[in-house]
């Protein structure tokens, strides 16, 4: 038989190909790494301070710290469809952390996704975004990490990915294809827009959640110039990190001032950050300077709408409020809303300014996909804690409701008052509940310590 005759040749060719691919895979990372020639004075207090601020804008702590774990000691699982991978220890501990990294090692890991041992990092680390950070900014972070971050002995955890996916060398190909080297290219001429673009595209790595990913898990665009898939909205960890572009389902209903307020305090009069975004505000944006917050906000407001998406939808008159006030419950969703949600979000869906977010007219509620609304209804969540408001409020979980009723109430709030959005069905709830079973708890999932001593300590608990 023909095949039989060819089989050994095919096997040999296959193996040879694999060996070659492997060898090349070992080589590829070395093509990415750079030698900066920079000597970092890690004891320069000004540099350390700058580095601390830059680490805030890059939000390293959020992914490299577990709930109740030591800051930057790693171990936080990130769920992928194939199993969890864990963030690593980036404290200056010599045995388990990055204590023996030179500046170049540090720079190559952050910007190019290549470890000291020349292995490629999983793209869960947002190096495609960090890549545009200037070496001198990374140098400042290096000074901060090496001096001010407490060294913690905590060995890294192995990934739970199945074989092949847990090999590191194929990642080198991923990097070569999906994260080619790129530089920061300013799109606009004003200082604020340029700074905003840089923060959003670079250290803020907003796209790692807000940009749709392609079939190879790569972000479809790393900058607005590339395509307006950038920040067009995506689902991450069961949350809808919604579109930040200029359409109705994006940020067209927001003003620059509201965005600044949102990034600084985690809330506005009508909305509050929740889920993954609550973590971003709690650990990162609340620490940013007024100028940087302004820059980010004007930049976001300058983004055009996603192709073909309307900036406004036809006005819809609110008939919901009066019906709820009159006790006219014309759907199962209305009865459920009146029993479980109305006490906080109110009959008019306006919530209570800075205490309970509005649901009516809240772009997080009528965003394209219902994932965020679904997840917060099933599992609850807490607003970020910042020094600007006395208390951070929590939405209780409603996991005791039936899946069918969760679908009813989610559809109800997405389509009541002036809201207009797509509908979900019971299977969406089933899937979300299934997903949530495996999801680790985060800081904004648990009850705060309200004892009087804790209250006086304020927001910064890291």
């Amino acid at each position: 038989m023909r095949i039989k005759k060819w089989l050994p040749t095919i096997i040999i060719a296959g193996v040879a190909g694999l060996v070659l691919a492997f060898a090349l895979g070992q080589l590829l990372p070395t093509l990415r790494t750079t030698e900066s020639g920079i000597v970092v004075d890690i004891n320069d207090p000004k540099l350390i301070n700058r580095g601390k601020y830059i680490a805030r804008t890059a939000d390293c702590v959020a992914c490299h710290t577990t709930l109740n774990g030591e800051a930057y000691a790693g171990g936080l699982p990130m769920l992928t469809p194939l199993g969890a991978i864990y963030s690593t220890n980036i404290t200056p501990d010599k045995r388990t952390g990055i204590g023996d990294y030179t500046f170049d090692d540090f720079n190559n890991a952050i910007k190019h996704g290549v470890r000291k041992d020349n292995n490629a990092l999983y793209p869960a680390m947002p190096y495609p975004s960090y890549q545009i950070m200037p070496d001198k900014d990374v140098a400042a972070m290096y000074a901060y990490f090496m001096t001010e971050v407490k060294a913690v002995y905590q060995p890294n955890k192995d990934s739970e990915l199945p074989p092949i996916f847990n090999w590191r060398w194929p990642l080198a190909y991923w990097q070569a294809i999906f994260a080619p080297k790129r530089e920061f290219i300013a799109e606009a001429s004003t200082v604020a827009l340029t700074r905003g673009q840089y923060l959003v595209e670079g250290p803020g790595h907003c796209g790692s959640c807000h940009t749709e990913r392609g079939i190879g898990f790569q972000e479809l665009a790393l900058s607005n110039a590339e395509s307006n898939a950038f920040l067009g909205g995506a689902v991450i960890d069961g949350w809808r990190a919604k579109s930040l572009r200029g359409e109705y389902e994006g940020l067209s209903t927001w003003s620059t001032e509201e965005l600044i307020d949102f990034f600084k305090t985690g809330r506005t009069d009508t909305t509050s950050a929740f889920g993954a975004m609550a973590e971003v505000v709690e650990h990162s944006t609340q620490y940013m300077t007024e100028e940087d917050l302004y820059a980010m906000s004007v930049y976001l407001k300058a983004l055009s709408p996603t192709d073909g998406k309307p900036v406004y939808t036809p006005k819809k008159t609110d008939t919901t409020t009066q019906k709820l006030l009159d006790g006219v419950y014309d759907s199962r969703g209305a009865i459920l809303y009146a029993e479980y949600c109305q006490i906080c979000h109110r009959a008019d869906g306006q919530g209570v300014p800075r205490i309970f977010p509005a649901l009516a007219g809240n772009s997080a509620v009528f965003s394209k996909e219902a994932d965020s609304v679904l997840q917060i209804t099933l599992s609850g969540g807490r607003m970020p804690k910042t020094p600007h408001d006395r208390m951070a409020f929590t939405m209780p979980e409603f996991s005791h409701l039936s899946d069918a009723d969760i679908a009813e109430v989610v559809n109800y709030i997405r389509n009541s008052w002036t809201n207009q959005a797509s509908k979900i069905d019971v299977n969406d709830v089933v899937r979300m509940r299934h997903f949530l079973r495996k999801k680790p708890k985060t800081g904004t999932d648990i009850a705060p310590n309200l004892s009087i001593n804790a209250a006086s300590k304020g927001a910064s608990h890291e």
């Binding site: 294809i177 906080c344 109110r346 306006q350 979980e397 648990i446 004892s451």
Partner: protein, 304 residues
Amino acid sequence: MNKSFIKHATAALALTLITLGTSGCSDPDPVEHNPAQYDLILTEDANADIGHYKLPQDTSILKEPNAEQIFYGKRLLNETKRLLPDHVGAEMNCNSCHISQGKVPLGDPYINSYNTYPRVMPRSGTEVDLEARINGCFQRSMNGTPLDRESPEMLAMIAYMKWLGQNTPKTQKVAINNAGKVDTSLVADTARGEKIYYAQCAACHGDNGEGLKDSRGDIVFPPLWGDKSFNIGAGMARTYKAAAFIKYNMPMGIQTKGLWGHGNVLSDQDAVDVAEFFAHKPRPDFLGKVHDWPSGKKPKDARY
């Protein structure tokens, strides 16, 4: 071979592997409502095991022949001030104190109310029926005036309480407590209570205990003291009663557990301190107070 071909080939490979890896786990069945469940006991014999009470969801009201009346009762209890302004002096609703529509143990629930009355009340020393008990709350807690015992409003409120009792026979009781316990031997520290108030309560109840109304003038957060609060005849004006309420029910909206994400975060001492702080602030007098506790035995934290 161009770059986009490699991109597509890699992508296709990745997709195949992922589909292989994730297929095989089909969707589980939808979950049914999982209501809170409590034991039923006999009023004579608390140890008899006679089944369970399941907390009903309001959607099941639709199955009742008098659904409209029950819904009306529920709305009256939730929005008493807006719907019955002539009978309510305070800026309060019945469910300002009867947490989550009277469905929460330790939050002054109505779960057993329909079967508990008539009974002899220690405060009045006389037998009181449910109508009189409700009117007691109108006069004290709501600093208002009683409802006509036969009025549609009174009947509707009672219909809601009856429905909530789920036809539990008169001889039985749902094994829950209406109020929780705090250590009544604790001595209150008002200064500490004030600090707790401003840190954990004032965001909602106001810096001057004035509460908050919405744009239509309806109550969002009830006041805790002043002219528009409950009067000195209310149970809530007594330090240890208020402390027991606060410990298990306030603040609300601070955790993911419980229908209102409420309570269970303050220690007994915290609760007693903050209760003493607000309960003893100025509030309306209660003219009927002269008739209370006719046989003596006045509790030590009564306001008069």
